[in-house]
């Protein structure tokens, strides 16, 4: 049984990961409250630069949680890849879908909405 072997404690690493996740959250919240105009109002690949920063920071946080807290780094490489690559492709696909098709729907619909 794998668990009867002596396991070294990872407490230090866990607190480091917690600090890392906290810092990212704080950065996200500060950016979310300030909404610096140079980022918020600059369009980039279908949405604003600020939204891209949020998306990337979110994925970094997701990586931290899955990799360290869900012990993916201790799993066999085959299991790890089956999980991680599935999610990576899914996220790329969905992001592209929303950014491209969502904009298209709006472009088609907006002329029919009257605001006066």
């Amino acid at each position: 049984m794998a668990h009867t072997e002596a396991h070294e404690s990872h407490t230090g690493l866990i607190w480091k990961v917690f600090g890392f996740l906290s810092i990212i959250t704080i950065v996200e919240v500060i950016l979310g409250i300030m909404k610096p105009e140079s980022l918020h109002l600059t369009p980039f690949l279908g949405t604003s630069l600020l939204n891209w920063i949020f998306l990337i920071l979110t994925l970094v946080k997701a990586y931290g949680i899955a990799w360290y807290f869900m012990h993916l780094r201790e799993e066999k490489a085959s299991l790890r890849r089956a999980i991680v690559w599935t999610c990576v492709f899914l996220i790329c696909y969905l992001t592209a879908l929303v950014l491209i098709e969502g904009g298209y729907i709006h472009d088609q619909l907006a002329p029919y909405l009257s605001w006066s």
Binding site: A2, K76, H106
Partner: protein, 327 residues
């Protein structure tokens, strides 16, 4: 249950059915990963439909910073702070969970018990916070007027800050006669089912007060702010007003698109339900730890499996947080 437990004398390369042990993972852990992946797909579906609808109405979607502005015991406009606190609570409960798993690997029963308890408390605080967030959203902050075509018109002062209906609407006591049981067969209690003001009261007070302006849902994409219209134009909108709304539900939403309220209730509700079941499972495992079930079994893998689920719930919140509050 017996079938899934790998005992000391069994071959660790096979599951108890006799098949080869895939990915060197135990049966329970593997099934938990299957569940997590399928649940991740479900949540992706929800979030993507939210994203698509949001893009569809990119020029009129509610701005989250103007919707979620409450902090307990403090009066004022504080976007993001409370939800940031909720995020910290959930991340912290994830940390105590992973500490419990870590202590379980070293067979330290006392530490596992303590950290499981902290995890349960963290989850409960998060769930309570979410209930409070829902309460504020359902109850509403300012009140608004809904037009014939479902558009929402809100009211702002001369600085562009939103103001509540109760700040400027003068009640015309003669306008509405309270319905009583003696007047009809289908009696509904007046106080609970009607908004606090009538449309005509709002329109009259709006025209009488020069420091009140009307704001439409339309977002000026150049500055990403909602459009404030002139009094003259505002009256054209108000001529089409059908109802006064306070708060949000599945039919109407004072903050803007009803679709926003629908998605909010559905997605955060579904996530909250996951947290709730996570707490229940954690409590069961917590008592199992106390009575020494895993001590007897020789390993704390069950804590690790429930930990996987708990971290997944945290992971989903990270995405919900981004898409509902940040983006």
């Amino acid at each position: 249950m017996e079938a899934t437990v790998v005992t000391e004398n069994s071959n660790e390369d096979v599951w108890s059915g006799g098949g080869k042990r895939p990915f060197a993972a135990s049966y329970g852990k593997m099934m938990m990963w299957f569940f997590i992946m399928s649940d991740a797909l479900t949540f992706s579906g929800f979030l993507v439909s939210y994203g698509l609808m949001r893009f569809k109405f990119i020029d009129s979607w509610p701005i989250a910073d103007e919707v979620f502005t409450h902090v307990p015991f403090v009066h004022g406009h504080f976007p993001m702070y409370y939800v940031a606190f909720m995020t910290f609570i959930l991340i912290f409960s994830s940390v105590t969970m992973v500490l419990a798993v870590d202590a379980g690997h070293q067979m330290k029963k006392g530490k596992v018990t303590l950290y499981m308890l902290l995890t349960i408390i963290g989850g409960a605080i998060f769930l309570g916070s979410q209930a409070w967030e829902w309460k504020n959203f359902i109850g509403g902050t300012y009140g608004a007027v809904v037009l014939q075509d479902g558009k929402i018109a809100q009211f702002v002062d001369n600085d562009g800050h939103q103001i509540a209906l109760s700040d400027f609407v003068v009640k015309d006591d003669g306008a509405r006669v309270a319905h009583t049981r003696s007047n009809g067969l289908w009696f509904e209690n007046d106080a609970g089912s009607l908004p606090p003001y009538t449309v005509s009261e709002v329109v009259a007070s709006f025209n009488a007060n020069p420091s009140v302006n009307l704001r439409t849902e339309q977002i000026d994409l150049g500055v990403k702010e909602k459009t404030i219209v002139s009094k003259e134009e505002a009256n054209k909108f108000l001529a089409k007003a059908t109802n006064v709304v306070m708060g949000a539900n599945l039919q109407v939403n004072e903050y803007g698109k009803t679709l926003f309220a629908d998605f909010f209730f559905f997605i955060t509700g579904f996530h909250g339900f996951h947290v709730f079941s996570g707490i229940l499972i954690n409590i069961i495992i917590f008592f199992n730890v106390i009575i020494g079930t895993y001590e007897k079994r020789g390993h704390y893998e069950m804590v690790e499996k429930v930990g996987l689920y708990w971290h997944f719930v945290d992971l989903v919140w990270v995405f919900v947080f981004t898409f509902f509050y940040l983006v």
